[in-house]
């Protein structure tokens, strides 16, 4: 029974000297969906992309910096509500509402994060949870602004008429256009987060994850770094939330309940938190499974729990982790064979 989490990981975060533009590749691969897939497929794909964005933002904390946050959905929710309220209640254009959502989320994570990073481990996790539930309580109770437990329905689509000007896009439905818009925005955010992860700043974060004490003694103000990544992650979660509110055409307090934080965390770990592309894979697997299984039974939580158990006991590196291990094993075997023949 191998539970290698305390073992050092394989060379996975190290990019080869030849940098492959994965984000661009994934973007191009996903682009044709509205044309080749059904309406249902496009719809599901939109959700997966949004969840992937959300999960990647969480992994900035979890996998990169080692910060276990149980309250990440708070910033997702802030983004969703700010964007939804601006667009629905005040008729603000998406062009302004979207960045505002990210900014608001970043602001909340700055204030909350300031207190959270002064704690570690379980206390950190519990405080993130407490703050997240405070956000939920506000959304649930503040009828005047957030619509209370009814939430805000009929959040409009952004104005996407300008897309008709782009060749090939004029034939798409609104859902199709929104998919393209979501994909583009998510790709930009993901590329940004990828750059952050592979930058020296990202290296500082992994150092902090590996050994907080040592990180201080190479000259890092650990708390400042943790707060910075907390804000960055919160901001991107806010972008994901904004897109989600439009996608579901409404924002509701359920979106901000703590079980949603658990959901995105499961996604992240299912895909593999030691790999940048782990969380998106996890989002894909989980959302797809969710759709399929809820067609047959109402007991999706049971299935999810079971998947989680299998993950924890048999495949702790997640899906991508499992593939990576297999790949490394194959490579090792090949080099052994080569050495033998030499």
């Amino acid at each position: 029974m191998s539970l290698p989490l305390s073992r050092p990981m394989v060379r996975s975060r190290n990019a080869s000297p030849r940098r492959v533009p994965w984000t661009l590749i994934v973007f191009l691969l996903l682009l044709p969906m509205p044309w080749i897939g059904s309406r249902y497929d496009t719809f599901l794909a939109t959700q997966i992309i949004i969840d992937a964005l959300f999960a990647v933002s969480l992994n900035l904390l979890l996998g990169t910096t080692g910060l276990v946050s149980f309250g990440h959905v708070a910033y997702f929710g802030v983004g969703a509500y700010v964007c939804g309220i601006l667009m629905k209640t005040y008729g603000v254009s998406f062009v302004i509402a979207f960045p505002a959502a990210g900014l608001a989320a970043a602001l909340f994570s700055l204030v909350f994060g300031y207190f959270c990073v002064r704690l570690t481990k379980i206390y950190f996790a519990m405080l993130t949870l407490a703050f997240s539930q405070i956000v939920w309580a506000i959304c649930f109770k503040w009828d005047a602004v957030t619509g209370g437990d009814q939430g805000i329905a009929d959040v409009p689509f952004p104005d996407m008429h300008w897309m008709a000007a782009i060749p090939g896009l004029d034939g798409l439905t609104e859902n199709g256009r929104f998919y393209i818009l979501t994909l583009t925005l998510a790709a930009i955010c993901t590329a940004a987060m990828a750059q952050i992860t592979r930058s020296p700043f990202g290296r500082m974060l992994t150092a902090i994850r590996d050994n907080r004490e040592r990180a201080a003694f190479i000259g890092l103000n650990v708390r400042a770094y943790e707060l910075t990544v907390f804000v960055v992650a919160g901001g991107f979660a806010g972008f994901a939330g904004a897109l989600y509110g439009i996608y579901t055409r409404g924002v509701f307090p359920d979106y901000v309940f703590w079980t949603q934080s658990a959901q995105v965390m499961i996604m992240t770990i299912l895909g593999g938190m030691n790999f940048f592309w782990g969380p998106p894979v996890g989002a894909l697997v989980l959302d797809w499974l969710n759709q399929e299984i809820t067609n047959y039974t109402q007991y999706w939580p049971f299935v999810l729990g079971s998947i989680l158990l299998v993950l924890l006991f048999a495949l702790p590196g997640g899906v991508v982790g499992g593939f990576n291990r297999a790949w490394v094993a194959v490579q090792r075997r090949r080099s052994r064979l080569v050495a033998r023949d030499a």
Binding site: P17, S199, P200
Partner: protein, 245 residues
């Protein structure tokens, strides 16, 4: 270079470090020794800012660093290697040193460069100079104990310190490894003009390399001086011969 005056620290009534003063000249090699429980680790932790002293001052190269957090003291030129190996286990050996270089050279908040290539050459050179060139690509956590200690030293050196504090640098090493480590330390200190302050249990090491020795016993400084003086000090002999069989 390093002036420590009247340092004192107590924990809930128990006085761990009691009015200890020590001066280490620039480029000197000094050692702090004492039986277990004498307060050596606490003393080091006070100097590097991991603990806050009740009273006393620590002055590094003319700059008062008392009460500053560890990351600031590091930035001002104090390096430290820890007793229990303190490296970044999931990064490669090369990445360990690169990270230290990046942090020291102000690239911690660099969002644009690529962490794989930045300062790679300098890191490789540093590793080569301390004998870890061959294992640069290995994951640090998988290294043998001796190599990890070398890496520990490498990380400390990457911060280009003026003073290097070494907490039991040869602990757990064989005679051969000890010899190599001490030779390495001596060479590095000479090459870089470092001031060394270390604590050790291996008396051969201490008397072999230290130019000044301070003896701690039950939190107080018992004696201080060049090796011969300390060796001949009757109180020191009593404390040690009483402890060692």
């Amino acid at each position: 270079m390093l002036e420590i005056t009247h340092l004192r620290k107590s924990f809930a009534g128990f006085v761990a470090v009691n009015d200890v003063s020590l001066t280490v000249e620039s480029q000197q090699i000094a050692a702090v020794i004492g039986p277990n429980g004498a307060g050596k680790s606490t003393f080091f932790n006070l100097i590097t800012g991991h603990l806050r002293a009740d009273t006393g001052r620590v002055v590094l190269d003319g700059r008062d660093v008392t009460g500053l957090p560890p990351y600031r003291i590091c930035g001002l030129g104090m390096g430290r290697s820890f007793q229990l190996t303190n490296i970044f286990p999931r990064l490669t050996v090369l990445q360990n040193v690169q990270a230290a270089l990046m942090a020291h050279r102000g690239h911690g908040r660099d969002f644009w460069s690529h962490s794989e290539t930045l300062f790679r050459d300098d890191a490789e050179a540093l590793l080569a100079s301390i004998g870890l060139g061959a294992v640069a690509g290995e994951t640090a956590g998988t290294l043998a104990y001796g190599n990890q200690k070398q890496l520990e030293l490498g990380i400390a050196l990457a911060s280009d310190p003026k003073v290097l504090l070494l907490d039991e640098p040869t602990a757990g090493m064989s005679a051969g490894e000890t010899h190599d480590t001490i030779a390495l330390l001596r060479r590095i200190a000479l090459e870089r003009g470092l001031t060394l302050l270390f604590t050790e249990h291996d008396m051969a090491v201490v008397f072999g390399i230290a130019q000044k020795i301070a003896v701690l016993y039950q939190g107080r400084k018992l004696a201080e001086g060049p090796p011969d003086e300390v060796r001949a000090n009757p109180e020191v002999r009593r404390v040690y011969l009483g402890e060692h069989a």
